[in-house]
Symmetry: C2
Subunit: 133 residues, 2 copies
């Protein structure tokens, strides 16, 4: 696309070497994500968390400015976090809050820009893509 | 990290040139994401959608295998979709379903592998990262 336009910012955050107990504790995960949203200056709309058997949890916090999600693998001491925003909020505060709250000894992240003409497709199958018109 | 291990797969899907009406219609968006989950062979746990004023919507479908989210900008005829899975499900079916259901004339996507030692950090600030131990 000729005219690129950024509409959202999306952080892919990987948390490593977290205590297993932290990643299998729904109230702690929900509290951590909601507080991370607040730390960014975001407005929480709703949240929904689920415990899976025997290990692991999934959760989402919908914010006025988009969302935060988390999926945990306590057996690997790993959590996959996404922070998606479309407002002028301080995402780094959310990253910092979560790294501390879930006691990650290491973390990595990518910042993706979302919007018009920004994603570089890697594709799965060209069959999915309609022809340009 | 020496030992990389894929735990989840994450599709970043960008839908362009969708009809404005499709992107501002909560029942249609919710139905589309739930059916996309079913098309992949995923099990829907819950869903939550919100309309924003005056335009735009956000929604999430939590599936047993992780989640789908969507954020729409009807004024740009654009929707940002994420499909995150940790099970053996057919993500391409979900992509194909959503491209058709929301009448996207064009789409792009990236496939990200989530897990141990897979993200290449682009970083925001080195201050967030604790030192390796």
């Amino acid at each position: 696309m000729k005219n690129a336009k950024e509409l959202g910012r999306h952080i892919i955050l990987e948390l490593y070497d977290c205590p297993e107990a932290a990643l299998n504790n729904i109230p702690r995960l929900e509290d951590s994500l909601r507080r991370a949203a607040e730390a960014m200056g975001a407005s929480v709309v709703s949240s929904s968390f689920h415990q899976f058997s025997p290990y692991g949890a999934s959760g989402v916090v919908i914010i006025q400015e988009s969302h935060l999600t988390i999926h945990t693998w306590p057996e690997y001491r790993y959590a996959a976090v996404d922070i998606f925003t479309c407002g002028e909020i301080d995402m780094e505060q959310g990253v910092q809050y979560l790294v501390k709250a879930l006691e990650a000894k290491r973390s990595d992240w990518q910042l993706l820009k979302r919007g018009l003409g920004l994603v570089r497709p890697t594709g799965i199958s060209p069959s999915v893509r309609p022809k340009p018109y």
